[in-house]
């Protein structure tokens, strides 16, 4: 008997920019890709459902504009979803649709159950604060007040992501792109969250730095057993990291399966194109 329970479920999540009209809401086939020609609503994420299990890496691939980032930002409460549920099966609000909770409770879920790494480090870090302060920020948000303990924890995290000790008092503004991503990862890990959301973490980094960050993610998975959602436009990144993958196009999940199945037996036209263009 298979009885594993997911730690998180997303059910029918949609995010619209605009209010939609009968033409595009009742008849999705009328949309031009994710756009309604009548009311000009953008259906950024459309009826997306999936489950995330303990310790697994779930890949989400798709071209830019397919809704991947919007999806994880809705999960992290950066944006409000238009409809749909997210049910967590961990923490004190276990079993509840967390989208309906008070903003205070959402904040505490954000700080304790999630870690987020943005594609753009300027979004995830305060560029004028030191690396130490950036990592500690999330500890403070979760209620920590003891300076020595926070420093010790920050050192521990910055060790994991290989930021050299003599750079830790510097501001990320003067760090390389790869270092900034590593500080973001340290910050995301600071409260030992069970779920890590990684949005295009390696995009824009040169190959050897990219490799370095990917290795770090693999090590975090092996050592800390965190569940992760890895969003990337790059199938090669997902191939390396994820056991299961969702393929998104125009806000929808068009294909889902084991990553090797997506690569060797793609059925959707878009997935086939994506696989054929893999170098």
């Amino acid at each position: 008997m298979f009885d594993e329970k997911p730690i998180l479920e997303v059910k029918h999540l949609s995010k619209l920019y605009g209010i939609g009209c009968d033409y595009c809401l009742d008849h999705p086939e009328n949309r031009e890709r994710n756009y309604c020609p009548r009311c000009r609503t953008i259906h950024a994420v459309s009826d997306v459902s999936f489950e995330l299990y303990e310790g697994e890496i779930l890949g989400i691939v798709g071209e830019s504009g397919s809704g991947k980032s919007t999806l994880v930002q809705c999960m992290y409460f950066d944006q409000d979803s238009s409809s749909g549920d997210m049910v967590m099966h961990i923490g004190e609000n276990s079993g509840k649709n967390v989208f309906t909770l008070s903003s205070q409770k959402k904040n505490s879920i954000r700080n304790q159950l999630f870690g987020m790494v943005y594609q753009n480090p300027y979004r995830g870090l305060k560029m004028k604060f030191s690396a130490y302060a950036n990592v500690s920020e999330k500890l403070i948000a979760a209620g920590s007040r003891h300076v020595q303990r926070m420093l010790a924890r920050s050192d521990e995290l910055l060790d994991i992501v290989h930021i050299e000790a003599f750079r830790r008092k510097d501001t990320p503004k003067h760090f390389s792109g790869g270092m900034q991503q590593r500080v973001q990862i340290a910050k995301a890990l600071s409260n030992n969250p069970p779920v890590l959301l990684l949005d295009e973490v390696t995009t824009g980094l040169d190959l050897s730095v990219q490799a370095n960050v990917l290795d770090l993610i693999k090590i975090i998975q092996h050592e800390l057993k965190v569940s992760m959602i890895v969003v990337s436009h790059d199938l090669a990144v997902v191939r390396m990291l994820a056991e299961r993958t969702l393929v998104m196009l125009d806000g929808r999940v068009v294909e889902a399966g084991l990553t090797d199945q997506i690569l060797e037996d793609p059925t959707h036209q878009y997935t086939q194109q994506l696989v054929y263009s893999l170098i």
Binding site: E56, R244, G257, Q261
Partner: protein
């Protein structure tokens, strides 16, 4: 002995969008395998031999037919319908797959590949380390390669590592997709002796071999694609 695997009327085709064409890979294959047996699959190239193995491993999702596998963890499961988390579990604990192509993580040393295979099954680290060394020695993988990246290995070394990393887990069901293609006689001999060891250990195996002489000396039964039956 009871059946560990029962394939019933398996059909698989691929629709290739840019050709607007459906390509048939296998049609109506039925195959029963008893526990501990070694089955060799034979047939012309393109007759769908690999498709069967990949469907068992769920790399391919067949559109028709059933693949019943008698697992240790879940009892009888239909691999074409099982939850993906179940497949992931079965892949790390019960079902192994070896192909002639090495699928490895970049920047992971040969030793890490071997140890990780066991660590993810919950084997203690010191035992995993010992077992990795034993396999390296068995396959004649030289000591200076152990902490090296397989990317720098020769074709034969890569293949031996690939076979070793699947066999180290001693899976209950091992799928062998041309594991000896392009190996020299000495390496083939090593693969053979390990197959024999696994057989004694009770592992069920289904294999496709380029070298029919090699296969016939090892397997219990030959399954022919053209007739969808044992010879």
């Amino acid at each position: 002995m009871h059946d560990i695997l029962r394939i019933e009327n398996l059909s698989k085709s691929f629709y290739i969008h840019h050709l607007r064409q459906r390509i048939e890979a296998t049609k109506n294959i039925s195959l029963h395998v008893s526990e501990g047996e070694f089955i060799g699959i034979t047939g012309k190239s393109g007759s769908g031999k690999s498709t069967i193995l990949k469907s068992i491993y769920r790399t391919y999702l067949p559109e028709e037919g059933r693949i019943y596998y008698h697992s240790k963890a879940y009892g009888v499961v239909d691999l074409t319908k099982a939850h993906l988390r179940q497949i992931i579990y079965l892949r790390s604990y019960e079902i192994g797959y070896v192909s002639q192509f090495l699928r490895v993580m970049p920047r992971t040393t040969a030793r890490e590949i071997m140890e990780r295979a066991l660590l993810e099954m919950g084997v203690p680290r010191d035992e995993a380390q010992r077992e990795a060394v034993r396999m390296f020695e068995h396959f004649g993988i030289e000591k200076e390669l152990w902490d090296n990246y397989p990317m720098t290995f020769s074709g034969g070394e890569k293949l031996r590592l690939n076979v070793a990393s699947a066999m180290i887990k001693k899976p209950r069901l091992l799928l062998l997709d041309e594991p000896t293609a392009s190996l020299d006689q000495e390496s083939k001999g090593r693969v053979r002796s390990l197959i024999e060891q696994l057989k004694n250990h009770g592992t069920t195996m289904i294999g496709i071999f380029h070298d029919l002489e090699f296969m016939k000396g090892l397997c219990d039964k030959e399954f022919r694609m053209e007739t969808s039956s044992y010879v």
